[in-house]
Symmetry: C2
Subunit: 181 residues, 2 copies
């Protein structure tokens, strides 16, 4: 996805008629660019006790390990989006069985819906946005080389509930809320 | 929020460089209008066994009853957003205690995060987007005059788990998935 800077396109902030917050408005044509929080969908994918991670071939955090996850697209459900990301990033067919966590990162207006899933047939590969993909045993996980805090959180939350049939989804770890992220 | 039609502003669909899906691109300046799924945050707010509903003063579904809920804003968490909506629509201070449901409405690219909450001090009022607000006992709920299917779902899911200390969040009711909404 291209990174666009609204200021490069003639947008500036003003409060549209009937609104109560400043929005980005195009100085040429008046188009209002509403910025909404974005949804990231992903999963902790396990297979025979090991967890699937992908090493990022793209920025941010090129070269670091992450879960199969990415921005939800239009006209898909969150589960379909999580399965699509596993296919795109790790060529993996997954079966989702529970919502593991809902994380909020208000600093970047992001909500992450992370599911617990398993590999359908044990197969996976390396998608175009990944340098490699690998199943890690719990004591092999490259904690120092994980891409994002939420990857840490999701792995730990998965481990904590790995034998539970049903999950009350986790939120952000205590203390990691709107003010600290 | 103003309803804008991209076609009125010179946007048309084309596939940006490096992308694999058609997006809305401005014919004048090249700005790409990425459309992402939107997050609705809301809550089933209870007080002494009754549930708070608001009668809508705005379209769509003017005059019908709904939960306090609305679009999540930038730089807030989903819980803060749900509490903000309760204040805006029903002048109510709420305490959220559990995530009740995650509903997907892919037809309109919407994800709803619905919480279980209670009134902090028993007080509520009528916000500018509401015609009235009222606490309903379960056998008084105006089922025929609810604004949206998800309001039905959330009320039924709340009732089913009203005595549970912890909730495994509900999704769409069985059969009501991407293909039927």
């Amino acid at each position: 996805m291209a990174i666009q800077k609204p200021a490069d396109y003639g947008f500036s902030h003003s409060v549209p008629e009937g609104d109560d917050k400043p929005r980005l408005v195009c100085g040429d044509c008046g188009w209002i660019h509403y910025v909404n929080p974005k949804i990231v969908v992903g999963s902790v994918v396990h297979h025979q006790g090991r967890v699937l991670l992908c090493r990022r071939a793209i920025e941010p955090r090129h070269g670091f390990w992450t879960l199969p996850a990415g921005f939800m697209e239009e006209r898909e459900t969150s589960e379909v989006g999580a399965a699509r990301e596993a296919m795109e990033e790790a060529c993996a067919r997954i079966e989702i069985d529970a919502l593991l966590a809902v994380y909020n990162i208000p600093r970047i207006s992001q909500v992450q819906l992370i599911y617990r899933a398993s590999l359908v047939d044990g197969q996976f590969g390396v998608g175009p946005e990944s340098l490699e993909a690998r199943l890690f045993a719990w004591d092999e996980i490259p904690w120092a080389d994980l891409a994002f805090p939420t990857v840490h959180w999701a792995l730990k939350h998965w481990f904590e509930t790995r034998d539970a049939a049903r999950i009350v989804p986790f939120g952000n770890p205590p203390g990691l809320d709107a003010n600290t992220l």
